[in-house]
C-alpha cells in the first residue's frame, strides 16, 4: 500500500463517514480530524517536491484494452497539498457552530458534508492522472462532485449548478474530442507518446488539440468566454463549499492544462505554433485570453452588490494571472503563475469564510445592507483585510509575490500590453476589494447589527490560520517557490531558483524579507510621527456630521450603493459588450433549432418523410 493509496483511503473514509453520520452535529469534529489525516498523508509525500520518485497507486485497471493507472508527482503533490489544506479549512469551518446553524435553518448538512468530502476525493483521483484516459475519468469525477456541492444548498444555487453543468459537460466533451484525436494521431492515450509525435503532426492537428484542450479545461477555469457560469455557481454554494470551490476547484483546469498542453504537447510546441497572418504564437494566444480573463471579470466584480458574487468574480479574474504566467512560460512567469494557485487558494478561502462569517451573524451578504461591523467582528475584519491585501496583490501578502514574478517576467519578455493588462486587473481588484471591505466593515453600523458579536472560534480558527499562511508565505515565499520549482522541473519549464525571500537576480530581484521589513519600518516611522501628537479621544461612531447636519441613528447614511459612481459613469457602458450575449445567442440558437426539430415531427406527415428521404437517398446513391 503506497501513500497514494493511503490518501485515497483516507479521503474515501471521510466521504463514508460524511455519508453515514454527516447529519450528526458531532460528526463535524471527526470529519475535521479525517481531513487533517488527509493533509498529513499529503504532507508525508512531501519528498515529491524535493525530487523523490513519483508515488504510484497500487490499483490499476485495464478497460477495453486501455490501461488505467495513477501516480502522484511533484505537480500532483503541489495541487494536492492545496486541496487538502483548503478541504481541511472548509471542514473545520463547518464543524462547529456554522454546521449546526446550517442544519437548523433547514439545510441538508449531510449532503453538504458528503459533497465536501467527495470533492477532494475526486481531485486526488484527478491529480494522480497519468494519461488522457485517467485524466478524463478524474476530470468528470471532479466536475460532478462540484456539481453536487453546488446543488447541496438548493434554492437559487440549483439553477446555477445546472448552468455550470451545461458548461462543464461542454468542456468535458471538448476534452474527450481532444483525447480521441490524440489517440487517433498517436495510437495511445499517453502524454509521452503525444510529445514524441509532435514533430510529425501537422499544424492543423496541433491547433485542433491546443484549442480543444484549452477550451475544455478553460471552461473549468472560467476563461473567457466560458466564464459566465462560475461566479453564480460558486457564490450560491453554501459558504464553506464556496470557500473550497473558490480556492481550488477551478484550478483543476490549470492542472489539466499544465499536464496536457505544457507537459504533454510541451511549451516549445506552443511557442513554435504560429497563428497564421499574425506575429503571435499559440502560447501568446493563451496569454491574451488570460489577459482578458484578468481584466473583464475583475471589473464585473467591481459592480457586484453581493459579497459572495464579488469574490467569485474575482476568482475568475485571478485565474487569468495563473494562466498568463504559465503561458509566458519562462522561469519567473511560470513560477509566478503556479505560485498564484497556492496564494489564491489561501486568501480566497479566507475571504469566502470571512464573508460567510458575516452572513452567519447578519444573515446577508448584500453589500448595501451591511456596514460598520469592524467594531463588532474585529477578527473577521482582520482576516478579510489580510485576504483582500493578498487578493489585490499588495505587499506584504503572498499575492504580491506571485504577481511580482509575473510582472517581472513580462518586462523581461517585452510584453507591454500584457503587462498593462495585468496592472489594470490589479488596480481593478484593489478598487473593488476596498468596496467589499468598506461596505461590510467600515462606514456606519446599522442599527439592527448593534448586537452582532464575533463569530465563534470554530469558525475563526481556520480563517485566522489561512490569514497567517497568507502573511507568512508572503514574508517568506521560498518554500512555496521550492515546490513550484519542482513542478517546473517536472514539466520541462525553465526552473526558478528561489531564495527564502523570493528571487535573487542582479537586475532587480525580490526579497520579501526586505520588502516587508522596509514596509514595517516605514509604518513604524509613521507611527512615531503619529504618536508625536496628543492623546486622542475615541468618540462614538455617530459623533460626526455631514453637510453641517449631525448624523444620528435615524439618518441611515452609509455610502455604499454605486460606490464608484464616477468610474461607473465612465465605464458603465462598456459592460454592455459583455459575453452574456454570446451565451444568450447560443441558447437562443439552440432553442430555435429545437423548435425546428420538434416541428419536424409536427409539420410533416411521417410518410412524407419516408418518401422524401427515400428519393434523396436514391438520388445520392447515383
Amino acid at each position: 500500500m503506497t501513500l497514494l493509496d493511503g490518501l485515497w483511503a483516507a479521503s474515501a473514509l471521510t466521504a463514508l463517514v460524511a455519508a453515514a453520520f454527516g447529519r450528526h452535529p458531532a460528526a463535524g469534529s471527526w470529519l475535521t480530524v479525517l481531513y487533517g489525516l488527509q493533509f498529513l498523508v499529503v504532507a508525508m509525500m512531501g519528498g515529491l517536491s524535493e525530487g523523490a520518485d513519483p508515488v504510484p497507486a497500487s490499483v490499476s485497471f485495464v478497460v477495453l484494452g486501455y490501461g488505467l493507472a495513477w501516480q502522484f508527482s511533484a505537480l500532483s503533490w503541489f495541487f494536492a497539498v492545496i486541496t487538502a489544506g483548503a478541504a481541511l479549512a472548509a471542514a473545520w469551518f463547518v464543524s462547529g457552530a456554522w454546521g449546526r446553524a446550517y442544519a437548523a435553518r433547514g439545510g441538508d448538512l449531510r449532503l453538504l458534508q458528503l459533497a465536501l468530502a467527495l470533492n477532494p476525493l475526486a481531485m486526488y483521483v484527478l491529480l494522480a492522472s497519468t494519461d488522457f484516459l485517467s485524466l478524463f475519468v478524474g476530470w468528470e469525477l471532479v466536475s460532478w462532485s462540484s456539481f453536487l456541492l453546488m446543488l447541496s444548498g438548493g434554492g437559487v444555487g440549483v439553477r446555477w449548478a445546472l448552468r455550470y453543468l451545461v458548461y462543464a459537460i461542454g468542456g468535458a466533451m471538448a476534452v474527450m474530442a481532444a483525447m480521441a484525436q490524440a489517440h487517433a494521431l498517436t495510437g495511445s492515450f499517453g502524454f509521452g507518446a503525444l510529445a514524441a509525435a509532435v514533430p510529425e503532426l501537422s499544424a492543423a492537428s496541433l491547433w485542433m488539440l491546443v484549442i480543444l484542450l484549452a477550451a475544455g479545461f478553460g471552461v473549468k477555469m472560467g476563461l473567457l468566454p466560458f466564464h459566465l457560469w462560475q461566479a453564480g455557481a460558486y457564490a450560491e454554494t453554501p459558504g464553506p463549499g464556496a470557500a473550497f470551490l473558490g480556492a481550488i476547484s477551478s484550478r483543476m483546469g490549470l492542472y489539466a492544462m499544465l499536464l496536457t498542453l505544457f507537459g504533454g504537447l510541451g511549451l516549445g510546441t506552443l511557442q513554435a505554433l504560429h497563428i497564421p497572418f499574425t506575429p503571435l504564437e499559440a502560447h501568446e494566444l493563451l496569454a491574451w485570453i488570460a489577459a482578458f480573463t484578468m481584466v473583464l471579470p475583475t471589473f464585473t466584480a467591481l459592480r457586484q452588490n453581493d459579497a459572495r458574487w464579488l469574490l467569485a468574480w474575482h476568482g475568475i479574474g485571478q485565474g487569468g494571472y495563473m494562466l498568463l504566467g504559465v503561458a509566458m512560460g519562462d522561469a519567473l512567469a511560470s513560477a509566478g503563475g503556479m505560485m498564484h494557485v497556492f496564494n489564491h487558494a489561501t486568501y480566497q478561502a479566507a475571504l469566502f469564510m470571512a464573508v460567510t462569517a458575516v452572513v452567519y451573524r447578519t444573515g446577508t451578504a448584500d453589500l448595501n445592507r451591511l456596514g460598520g461591523l469592524v467594531t463588532r467582528m474585529p477578527l473577521t475584519f482582520l482576516v478579510l483585510l489580510i485576504g483582500i491585501i493578498g487578493l489585490a496583490g499588495l505587499p506584504p501578502m503572498n499575492g504580491f509575490v506571485s504577481k511580482w514574478l509575473i510582472y517581472r517576467a513580462l518586462i523581461d519578455e517585452g510584453q507591454p500590453l500584457l503587462f498593462v493588462a495585468a496592472v489594470i486587473g490589479t488596480l481593478g481588484t484593489i478598487v473593488s476589494v476596498y468596496k467589499l471591505l468598506h461596505n461590510i466593515f467600515l462606514g456606519r453600523l446599522r442599527v439592527e447589527h448593534e448586537s452582532v458579536r464575533e463569530v465563534p472560534w470554530s469558525m475563526l480558527t481556520p480563517m485566522l490560520a489561512l490569514a497567517a499562511v497568507v502573511f507568512v508565505t508572503g514574508l517568506a515565499p521560498g518554500p512555496v517557490l521550492d515546490w513550484v520549482a519542482a513542478v517546473q522541473r517536472e514539466l520541462g519549464f525553465a526552473v526558478l531558483v528561489p531564495t527564502l525571500g523570493g528571487v535573487d537576480r542582479p537586475d532587480g530581484g525580490l526579497d520579501m524579507l526586505w520588502v516587508v521589513g522596509i514596509m514595517l519600518a516605514g509604518f513604524g516611522v509613521g507611527a512615531l510621527i503619529f504618536l508625536a501628537g496628543g492623546r486622542a479621544r475615541t468618540v462614538h461612531q455617530l459623533d460626526n456630521y455631514a453637510g453641517g447636519h449631525f448624523l444620528s441613528a435615524e439618518v441611515r447614511y452609509h455610502y455604499s450603493d454605486n460606490f464608484y459612481a464616477g468610474l461607473m459613469h465612465r465605464i458603465g457602458s462598456w459592460y454592455r459588450g459583455s459575453f452574456q450575449w454570446l451565451q444568450d445567442a447560443l441558447v437562443s440558437a439552440t432553442d430555435f433549432l429545437a423548435q425546428g426539430a420538434a416541428g419536424v415531427y409536427r409539420a410533416v406527415q411521417p410518410v412524407t418523410w419516408l418518401l422524401g428521404v427515400t428519393v434523396l437517398a436514391l438520388w445520392w446513391a447515383w
Binding site: 496583490g393 484593489i430 476596498y434 466593515f441 514596509m519 501628537g533 496628543g534 460606490f563
Partner: protein
C-alpha cells in the same frame, strides 16, 4: 547592515525636510500665480506643529489611527526604495515594481482611516481617490514598463547607473517622460485632478473627519508624497543625482512643473479625470513605448 539601518533613519529625515520645502514651494507658486505674497518660510512647519499640538484629538476607532499610520508609513517606505546620492543600499535590494505597489499603500491607508470615520462624505472622497488611482496608475505603469525595458532592469540603482553612462531617460524616451509628467499630476492630486482631495471644500473629501494630529499626519504625508514623486521622476528620467545639490534641484524642478500647471486649471469631475488620464498620457505612453521597443 548597520548602514542600511542608518539609511532607514536618515532618508525619512531628509525626505521630511525636503518635502516641507516642496510644500512651501507649492504654496509660494500658487501665491505668485494668484498675485499674493504667500506664506512665510517656516509656515509648513508651523502647520505641522500646530496640528500635532492641538488639545482636541478625535479618534473614530483603532482603524482610524492605523489607517493614518499606514498612509504616512507607506510613503516613508516608498521613498526609501528610491536611491538618493550616497544612499542606495535599500534601493538596491528591491525594485521598481515593489515601488509601484508601495505607492498604492498610502491611498489604501487613507481609505481605511476615512472609512472608519463613518462619514458618508469621507466615503465619497475615498471612492474618488481610488478612482483617481485607477486613472493615473495606468499611464504610470506604461511609463515604468518603458523605462525598465530601456534600462534592461527594474532595479532603480541600475537605472541611475545606466543613465549616467548612456544619458538621461528624458532624451531616450521623451514621450514617456511626457506621459510620466501627466501621471505625476494625477498622482499628486493637483488640479485639474484634485477632486478627491478637494481641499477647498473639506467637508466632502476623505479629510472630513480629520483633525489635529490626523490632519497633521496627512500634511506630513503630503510632504513625503511630493518628495517621493519628485525624486522618482528624477530617478527615472533625469539621471538621478550624483550629489545632493543637483539631485534636489532636479526634484524641486520636477515638482514645480505640476504646481505651475495646477493653479491655471479648474477641476475635473471624477469621470472626466478618467477620460483625460486614460486618453492622452496613455496614448503618449503607448506611442513612446512603441518607439522605444520597435527601434
Amino acid at each position: 547592515m548597520p548602514e542600511l539601518i542608518l539609511e532607514l533613519v536618515l532618508m525619512p529625515l531628509v525626505a521630511f525636510v525636503a518635502g516641507l520645502g516642496m510644500l512651501l514651494m507649492m504654496r509660494k507658486i500658487a501665491a505668485k500665480i494668484q498675485r499674493r505674497v504667500g506664506p512665510p518660510f517656516l509656515q509648513p512647519l508651523y502647520d505641522v506643529v500646530k496640528f500635532f499640538g492641538k488639545q482636541t484629538q478625535i479618534s473614530h476607532g483603532l482603524i482610524h489611527d492605523v489607517g493614518i499610520i499606514v498612509a504616512v508609513g507607506g510613503y516613508i517606505a516608498a521613498e526609501t526604495l528610491i536611491p538618493v546620492p550616497g544612499m542606495d543600499g535599500i534601493a538596491g535590494r528591491t525594485d521598481v515594481i515593489v515601488l509601484i505597489y508601495f505607492l498604492m499603500v498610502p491611498s489604501l491607508g487613507m481609505a481605511l482611516a476615512a472609512g472608519q470615520c463613518a462619514n458618508p462624505n469621507a466615503s465619497i472622497g475615498i471612492s474618488r481617490a481610488l478612482t483617481a488611482m485607477l486613472a493615473y496608475d495606468i499611464p504610470f505603469v506604461i511609463v515604468i514598463f518603458g523605462m525598465s525595458w530601456i534600462y534592461g532592469t527594474t532595479n532603480l540603482v541600475q537605472m541611475v547607473e545606466y543613465q549616467q553612462v548612456h544619458g538621461w531617460g528624458l532624451f531616450q524616451a521623451p514621450l514617456l517622460a511626457f506621459a510620466g509628467l501627466f501621471a505625476l499630476q494625477g498622482m499628486l492630486g493637483k488640479q485639474p485632478f484634485e477632486i478627491y482631495v478637494a481641499p477647498a471644500e473639506i467637508a466632502t473629501g476623505p479629510m472630513v473627519e480629520m483633525g489635529g494630529k490626523y490632519l497633521g499626519s496627512l500634511v506630513v504625508m503630503q510632504s513625503f508624497s511630493l518628495y517621493t514623486a519628485g525624486i522618482l521622476y528624477t530617478t527615472l528620467f533625469l539621471g538621478g543625482g550624483v550629489t545632493w545639490i543637483d539631485f534636489l534641484l532636479k526634484a524641486y524642478l520636477v515638482v514645480a512643473i505640476p504646481m505651475a500647471i495646477a493653479f491655471q486649471f479648474p477641476r475635473y469631475r471624477a469621470e472626466q479625470m478618467l477620460g483625460v488620464l486614460w486618453k492622452w498620457p496613455v496614448l503618449a505612453g503607448l506611442l513612446g513605448l512603441a518607439l522605444v521597443m520597435l527601434t
